[in-house]
C-alpha cells in the first residue's frame, strides 16, 4: 500500500522557509501571491491493508515523522486501488 504523508507547519506557526521563498519570489518580480508555506511529503510503501496502513503511518507520524507541536499532517493515498 503506497501512501504519502503531507506535513505542513501548523496554522499560525511562523514558517521561516515559506517567508524566505515569498521574499525571493517578490524580488524576482512575481506579483499577486501570498501566504506561501513550505512543508514536506514523505512517501511510504506499507505491506498492509488500507486501515492497517493508516494506523501504522499514524503511529510513525506521532513517534518520529511529525513534530506535533508545530506541524500538522495528512495521510494521502496515491489513488484508490
Amino acid at each position: 500500500m503506497k501512501l504519502n504523508v503531507k506535513i505542513m507547519p501548523k496554522n499560525g506557526v511562523l514558517d521561516p522557509q515559506g517567508k524566505a521563498i515569498e521574499n525571493s519570489l517578490s524580488q524576482l518580480g512575481f506579483k499577486n501571491f501570498s501566504e506561501i508555506r513550505q512543508g514536506k511529503i514523505i512517501e511510504i510503501d506499507i505491506d498492509a491493508d488500507k486501515d492497517q496502513a493508516i494506523n501504522i503511518t499514524d503511529e510513525m507520524c506521532k513517534k518520529l515523522l511529525v513534530n506535533l507541536i508545530i506541524e500538522d499532517y495528512e495521510i494521502i493515498f496515491d489513488r484508490e486501488e
Binding site: 499560525g12 506557526v13 511562523l14 521561516p16 521574499n23 507541536i69 508545530i70
Partner: protein, 728 residues
Amino acid sequence: MIKITKEIVEEHGINSEEYDFILKSLNREPTITELGIFSAMWSEHCSYKSSKYWLSQLPTKNEFVIQGPGENAGVIDIGDGYAAVFKMESHNHPSFIEPYQGAATGVGGILRDVFTMGARPVALLNSIRFGEVSHEKTKHLLTGVVSGIGGYGNCMGIPTVGGEVEFNSSYNDNILVNAMCVGIAKKDKIFYSKASGIGNSVVYVGSKTGRDGIHGATMASAEFDENSEEKRPTVQVGDPFSEKLLLEACMELMKMDVIVAIQDMGAAGLTSSAVEMAGKGNLGIELDLDKVPCREEKMSAYEIMLSESQERMLMILEPDKENVAKEIFEKWELDFSVIGKLTDTNRLIINHQKETKADIILDILEKGAPSYKRPYEINIFDDEGIKEDTLINDNPISILKKMIASPNLCSRKWVWEQYDHMVMTDTVLLPGGDSAIIRVHGTNKGLSVTSDSTPRYCASDPYEGGKQAVAEAWRNLISVGSLPIAITDCMNFGNPEKKDIMGQFAGVIKGMIEACNTLNFPVVSGNVSLYNETNGKGINPTPVIGGVGVVENLDIFSDQNLKRKNDFILIIGKTTGHLTQSIYANELLNYKKGLPPKVNLEEELKNGLAIKELINKRLIDTSHDISDGGLLIALTEMSMKNIIGFELKIEKDNLNSYLFGEDQARYAIAVEENKIEDVRLLLNEKNVFFEEIGQACKDKIIINNNNISILELKEIYENWFNNYLSKA
C-alpha cells in the same frame, strides 16, 4: 465586548486582591486587552513581584559598572574606550515544551537584549540542566536543546564558547535552559530604553507579529501540571536569519545619531516594551495597532499586545529622522512601521479599529505592580557526615575511572563541538576549560567568560550555595589570569509561595551578597525564573552565575592543560577532604545527606589574587580551579589535552576524601622547575597555603602504587555522550 468573569481573571494569573486594586485604579472594569496587559506586566517574569525585595539588596556597583540591573543588559567598562554588555536569561518552560525552538528562541532573545544596547554580540554561553539520564524524556530534550542552541547561534555567526550541562532528577519534568550573551560596544555609544521627547515616534521594526507565544510570560510563571502539554500551540519559532538582518540593521542605524531609545520585544512583547520605555521616561504612550505589521489576519488588540513573536524591536525616533531609519530597515528587508507617539499623559492608550482598547495610567502598571515580601524559612540539611565504613575501599584509580565516566563529570565535548565556537576568529581560549577567552576585536585585550552553579550545594545549604556559585565563577575567571569584573545571574527556583522555597531564594541571595561584596564582583543584570516545579515538586535551587573578566594582555593568560613533564604540581588552598554533597558522595556512594563545603571568602580572595599574580608575572601558565569532583578530577582534566600525566605521592589516612573532597578556594597549578623557587616565595609572602603533591610525567596518572594510562581514561571520559545517545 468580552465580559470579565472571575474565571477569566483567574486564568490571567491575577489574584482577587490584585484585581480589586485594578478595579479601584481604573475606576471601572478592565477590558480584556487591559486585563491581558495587567496580567503580563504583573506576571512574575515581568514584575519580579516575589523576588524584587531580595534582588534589590544585591550589590550592583563597582568602579567598572556603567549600567547595572534595570536595563536590557548590564554594561561594564573594560578600558580603552570599550564596554562589555551582557546578560543571562532563562527559557525553561518553552524548552521543555519544544526543546529545539525553545532553546533557539532563548538564544535569540538574549542576543537582542545585548545588541539593542548597541553592542555587537561576541559570545554565547548556555547553562542547561536536564532530568536524570534514565528519565524517558532526557535524551529527546538534550538533543533538541543542544541543536536548538547550535542552530540559532551558528546561523547568527556568533560563537558559543561556554556553559554547563547537568543531569539531576529534580529537573525531570522541568529542565533549565539559561542562555547568556556577551557583546562589545564603544563606551560612548550605548543605547538605553528610557523614552524621551514628547511627540517622538514609536517605531516597530523587525519581523511581523503573529499569534506566537500568546501569554508566554504568564505561562512561564505558572506551575506545570498534567495539562501543560495542551498549551503547545503558543510555541514561538525562531528565525535566526531575520535576527541577523535585524542585528545588522540596528548596528547600521546606531552609527547615526538617530535613536532616542530602543528595546527588544521579549517576554510580553509589545506590552512590556511600550510600558517599560514610556514608564522609564515618565511619559505617556499612544499606539495604533492597525499600523502593527501582522502575519495573520484578524488579530485582536489583545493578541497583538501579548504576542511574543520573535525578532522584533521597538524604537523611539524623532519624527524628522524616521526616513533615515526606514531606508536602512527596508534595505535589510525588515518591516518598519511608525505605530504611535510619546505623550505627556502618563497613560498607555491602545487604539485598534477605531476603538480605544486600553487606557491605563502607566504608574499603575509599573509602580503599582505588586511586590511581595513572601514568608520564608531558610532550611539547611542536618550535619550528617559519611560513616567511615561506607567509604569505598577501592584504590583511587578505580574510583577515578567511575567518576570521569559519570554523566556529570565526563567531557562536554559532544555538546560544545556542535556549536560553532570559533566563528569570528576571536576565540582565544576554547570551551572545555575554566573560562573561555574572546579577543576584543582588533586589540590585544580579551574578555574571559564563564557560567557556574552548584545546585546540590544550594539545596543543602542555600546561603553557602549562593556564596559558592559566585565564588566559583570568580575562581574560573581568575584561573585563566583575568581580572573578574562583574556578573549576571539567572535565578531558577520553585514556587515562591512555599516558605521553604522562598527560604532557598532568600538564603542564596544572602550568600551571593556576601560573596559579591568580598570579591568586588557586583551583579549588573539578571533574570528570575520561579515556579520551576512539576506536580508540586521543586527543582534544586539553581542560581546560575555568568561572570565576565578582562585579560589586559592576550600574551599573558593561563589554561588548564599540563604542558611539560617534570612540572611541579601544587595545590593552592586547604584540603580537609569535605565529602558530603560532593559528586563522589552523591553519585558514587549515593549519599545525599549532609552539608556542602563552606566557602571562606577571605581565603577565596587571598588565594585567587595570588593565582592571578602568578599568571600575570608569567610564573605559571597552567592553572585550574578545583570544583566538582575534587582534586584528582581537576588534575585528570588537566592531563587530557596534551596527554601529559602526573605522579602523586600522598600519604594520608583518608586518601579518597583528600582526592575527591570538594573543599573550596582551591586551585591546581603546574610550575616549571626553574620557577618553583619564585612561586614558593610569592605564595609564602602572601601567606597562601599550598601543598606540593607531585610532578607531571609522561602519559600516565600515577598515585602512589597505582597507575592508569591517560589514553584509556580519555576514551571513557570523552565517549559518555556518544554511548548514551547511541543506545536506543
